[in-house]
């Protein structure tokens, strides 16, 4: 006797699409794909079942900025978005830079019983870019990667030492790759549109220059380290930086990279509205960059789609474009957005799309793949093809606004399970 039976459901994971089957879930696992007795039966006809999503990049703001988001709202937003696992960024107040802080976050998240939290730790103490944190102890406390995200790693020597230090423990070092001195006060993509709108531009070259530098730093670390370092480039936004990562991968460098839902679906044109909702770093780029990123998703240059969910208060996002903070909240819309915009509208392969939410990011963290097979962990998401408009007012996140408000999307998560336990349910 299982707990849940999902009947007549199509399966989709990194291996492909198959079904329909009757998925029997119990003891936190998939017990059978051929049905059986269960306490609860859910009709899966017309729906897709996928492995639970993993977000490599979310800002949950706890501790210190709970006015923007906290673990409870952030992790509830995550399960509503189909995420069963999530990496939180350490640029909190104070920054997460000690094993104690990592353990405290994990403990609190476990008690919430929503998505599983992997709190990333700072690469340097206080994220100040000077003194390295204790990579080994942070790893043992549960940190999945080290990053100074929220800031840029201006000191190449510190980054090199960080990559070497993390390599010993198999920890990736994730970088927000923008040359701060080149981007200066840029608030949107630099180019003719920024010139027209009179907004300070953040040049695409600032990202490319920093990715190029970081790849050289990685080369150095690879040559010097007895273990294999791992550089993860966050939120790639430009064609040029993407090409650099592609070349580096071809050359066998241990680099991985992610792209965000906003860089894949929006362009700088959105800034014509002068709405700080669209202010994000790196900035929204051109249509050409979007096309390059989608190409990168297909050919494997990009390993994962990561949200960079960055909640702020409504009032902060109603400041002007110079003062409003950078960031777009997206945990609750990421999958339906890309399901609709990439798979439904452009025929992007569904199997690859799901992989970019599951096995892709799992591999970045060194986790084993998760496929829909008998015996597999029942961390799953049921996706509904029915159309529904994005309604930020209904978000669980404290950031109840969205650049995609009103967009009509398909592929909404209607049921999210973590180890067989229902953590989100929106079945009709």
């Amino acid at each position: 006797m299982g707990d849940i039976l999902i009947k007549n459901v199509m399966l989709v994971d990194a291996l492909g699409e198959r079904g329909p089957v009757d998925v029997l879930i119990g003891e936190g696992r998939i017990l059978s794909l051929e049905g059986g007795e269960a306490q609860r039966v859910i009709e899966g006809k017309g729906r897709f079942l996928a492995p639970g999503f993993l977000d490599l990049h979310a800002h949950l703001r706890e501790p210190g900025q709970e006015v923007k988001e906290d673990l409870a709202t952030g992790l509830r937003a995550a399960v509503r978005g189909g995420y069963t696992d999530l990496v939180s960024m350490p640029n909190t107040n104070p920054p997460v830079d000690t094993p104690e802080a990592v353990r405290a976050l994990r403990k609190k998240a476990q008690a919430l019983g929503l998505a599983r939290l992997y709190p990333a730790a700072a690469l340097t103490q206080g994220q100040e870019g000077k003194t390295l944190t204790e990579a080994g102890l942070l790893k043992e406390a549960g940190a999945p990667l080290l990053t100074d995200d929220g800031r840029t790693n201006e000191d190449a020597g510190v980054l090199a030492a960080g990559l070497l230090g993390a390599a010993a423990f198999g920890l990736p070092v994730a970088v927000h790759a923008e040359d701060a001195s080149l981007r200066r006060g840029g608030v949107m993509n630099d180019g003719p549109l920024a010139d027209l709108l009179g907004l300070p531009g953040n040049p695409p070259e600032a990202e490319a220059a920093r990715v190029a530098r970081d790849l050289e730093v990685l080369r150095y670390a690879l040559r010097r380290a007895q273990a294999r370092p791992h550089l993860h480039v966050q939120h790639l936004s430009t064609r040029r930086a993407l090409e650099l990562v592609r070349e580096a991968k071809r050359a066998g460098l241990p680099v991985t990279a992610e792209a965000t839902p906003h860089h894949l679906t929006l362009t700088e044109e959105a800034l014509r509205s002068f709405d700080p909702l669209f202010k994000v770093a790196p900035p929204l780029r051109t249509g050409e960059d979007v096309e390059a990123l989608i190409e990168g998703l297909l050919d494997g240059t990009l390993d994962a789609i990561a949200t960079d969910h960055a909640p702020h208060t409504q009032a902060e996002k109603e400041m002007d474009l110079l003062r409003a903070p950078f960031g777009i909240p997206s945990l609750e819309v990421a999958f339906p957005l890309l399901y609709t915009e990439l798979y439904r509208k452009r025929g992007f392969p569904l199997k690859r799309l799901v992989e970019l939410f599951t096995d892709g990011p799992r591999k970045v963290l060194g986790l084993p793949p998760l496929h829909l097979e008998v015996g597999a962990e029942a961390s799953l998401v049921l996706l509904d093809p029915k159309e529904r408009p994005v309604d930020p007012k209904a978000f669980a996140s404290k950031a109840r606004f969205s650049p995609w408000a009103g967009w009509v999307l398909e592929g909404w998560p209607v049921l999210t399970l973590v180890e067989g336990r229902i953590v989100h349910e929106a079945l009709e």
Binding site: D190, L196, G198, F274, A315, E318, L322
Partner: protein, 301 residues
Amino acid sequence: MKHLLDFQGWTRAEVESLLDTARVMAEVLERPVKRVPALQGFTVATVFFEPSTRTRLSFELAARRMSADVVSFAAATSSLQKGESYKDTLLTLEAMGVDAYVIRADAAGVPHQATRWVRGAVINGGDGRRAHPTQALLDAYTLLEALGGLEGRKIAIVGDILHSRVARSNAELLPLLGAEVWGAGPPALLPQSLPGVRLTPRLDEALAEADAVMVLRLQKERMEAGLVNLEDYIAHYQVTEARLKKAKPEAPLLHPGPMNRDVELEGTLADSARSLVNRQVHNGVAVRMAVLYHLLVGRER
């Protein structure tokens, strides 16, 4: 025309109609009683998030000359950062029954954002580097007064084009009236492109046969940011008597003020008969009266 944010989407006919009204307003300003009751019952707020005495005074005088009630709100942006928002400020004014908001801010887009929050007319009083449409209108008015027409006329804008809202607004407006606009300045102070303007780092090229020359203010911050060296700028981009020989004889000079004498413009030129600076300030009131009339009368309240 619901708001005046910039000149995107404006037609030549709309601009000309506004300038025609401005000519009537200029005549009002010549009368013994320089005041008409046209905007009685309307309330105009000047909302300045960036200090600017000259522009604020010009708007307030324009509103009073039209018999509108005027309220003014000036806030350092620092107080905004303490938690009071643009939106709160504007909604407070809206609750007081304001019909038009003249908004000045150091960030591009604030007037644009304001149109999402208030029902009244929004007039851009200068937003960051983005636009300063009433300045461009008074420049156009002054140029038309001096040149008769702008069709086929070459207007050279000289200086820090990149950071200039005046340059951007003139770049939108003057070509609408048939002018050929050139922009010259050091490469670090030029945009990559600006629709409607031919950009060049060669001052002589922009000045050659120019019918009028508009000189922009060189801000200290640009030198501090290392974008330009002052001596170098003066040596190569200051508009001087000698350099003006390239332009048409008697080509008038405009400057949006306030001026750094002997930096962007040779001091003797600033006081010469070629300078239209005082006409610009004078015409500013008439142009702003016309803008208020066009935006407020006939508007659903």
